[in-house]
Amino acid sequence: MSAPTATPVSFGRRAGRALGDDRMRAAIARGTGLMVQRRHEAIAELRNADELRDAASVIRAAALQRLPELLERWSDNLGALGGHVHWASDADEANAIVAGIVARRGAKVIAKGKSMVSEEIHLNDVLERAGADVVETDLGEFIQQLAGEPPSHIVAPAMHKDRFEVADLLSADRGAPVSPEITAEAAYARRRLRQAFLDAGVGITGVNFAVAATGSICLVENEGNGRMCSSLPPTHIALMGLERIVADFDELDVMLNLLARSATGQALTTYTNIITGPRRPGEVDGPEELHVVVLDGGRSAVVGTRFSPALHCIRCGACLNVCPVYRQVGGHTYDSVYSGPIGAVLTPLLKPTDPAARELAEASSLCGACTEICPVRIPLHDLLLQLRHRDARADASRLRRAGFWLWSQAWSRRWSFGAMVLGARVVLPLLRRLRWLPDIGWLGAWRQGRELP
């Protein structure tokens, strides 16, 4: 009918490379399989999981509906506590704000906790160009930093690496062998990162939720590094997506009850940090300055559209773990900060003019496993379908569009469809018998690994 694809940057080509990496695929299959199993067990513990997920979905939708009001209340409350809120409309603004604070504080070493927003704006590049020593302190992110790669998974950044690859990276960093035992690897990272916490002039973290009623930010993690980054250095900068707000602690309770269960299969993460302002007079712990940088980055343009539910995401990564495409090709194939089904939805929404981002909507069989597992009930596969409807006309090659038009003409008339039925009965047995076939277009794509029906 038409050529398989004509987009300039091809997901298919990247996938082809990933599919040749057996070691990575084994690590992903192991990692995602384990996380899905743990998630099922943790959700099964809840007597009211369905009601909780319904409630979470309603809470997220309501938060977007009253986004300006909630953000203002949160910002006012945090300001009254002595915190500073900065609004950034895009990556450049956000980077400039952070770089400005770092320069003013004269920080040479920056201890950084996990933050997907920082990946989104490529903050490390900016800070390193300005001469700062940025140390990723989440173990997975630290491994990725040593490897010179972005994270491949929202929750488990180095999921695609096995412990032997990790040992090689840590050994290179140490300049001496680190045993490929997970305890030995963790022990080395702990020693190595401790110095970064002590030296850091600025700590940078993400934000899981901001609580409007109290001006708090909530940060969940399992390694304690987030708590170190947010309490030890004299300045704490937290990066937050515009949409990550809840009204009060009742709502936060619902979200936290689902987040860790969906992400790692825990009832709660080991550390749940609720940060309500910087250090107050008389307190011994906490930073002197607390800054929260709130990034729009294309989000506000999505609020109120039919794609709005994509912003309900709480970044648990469950849809990645359960996605059969992600399972085969891993996160880097998406060539985007956010991978898997939510990445395939979010990326083309946040980058509406990028054809490579729009191609991600094709990277799904629309099986619906993502929609089924999403704790806040984002209709992910339906949004992927809607993105295809949004972009098909603009992006497809002339040949592809003509192909579908011709198909619709032939199949909307009984006589021409009947002719095709008869044709198939003659042509297919003939094609099957031929030793050589011209493998072009869809015929060639099908025969890439499959015999004709």
Binding site: Q328, W407, S408, Q448, G449, R450
Partner: protein
Amino acid sequence: MVVRFFASCLVELLQPNVGAAAQRVLRAGGHDPQPVRGATCCGQPAYNAGYAGEARRVARRTLRALGDADTACVVASGSCATMMSHHWPELFEGTADADAARRAAARTVELTAFLTGTAAAGSAGDRPPASGTGDGGSAQEPDGGGPVVVHDSCHALRELGAGATVRRALADAGRTPTEAQGTERCCGFGGSFSVKMPAVSVAMADEKLDNLAATGCMQITSCDLSCLLHLQGRARRRGLALRFDHVASLLDPGT
């Protein structure tokens, strides 16, 4: 009871015997299946690729052929049944066919869902109830079938909530299906996905085939011919001696 019967374009094009078998199954259950004359396709290939206009043009043909009578429309495909029952109302919204599409959506039912839902009492007879995961079932079936393993198609499983009906229909016919690992995971067909992302699609098929073959069953069934043709094409390329039969063929009482 008179029912309308729609085999799906794929069945008509590639395996018309499946459509004939499905009609015999319906008749054996005491129904009077009347094929939807003039129907072609539900429009799904274009719809899932993002071409709503083209999908509507094709689906309108089938919708109008279906007529507006009050009888159930039995479809021998989980994914076509999903397209008609879940997506037609949206596809035709704001057009002259909107009301007809909504009514057609409400009447549409996948074959095994129909057999086990409305016809269970008639066709189950004195057969034993399903025993969950079996050891391969008995080997006395008239169609010569031995152990069989069910491939769950995503649409039937998730959109129709009909993962159980294929198994129940088989159990009602005296065959206890074996269960495969990762049965809820997609086989990689996905319509245009299978030719837009062929390497990924085939990798997904490989994992599915490995899990199916690991059961020891040589026969695989499903309510969706599209998944089966994709898996069969891959199995043949790999030289795997597996058989793929639409569930209607397994339930077929014969002529």
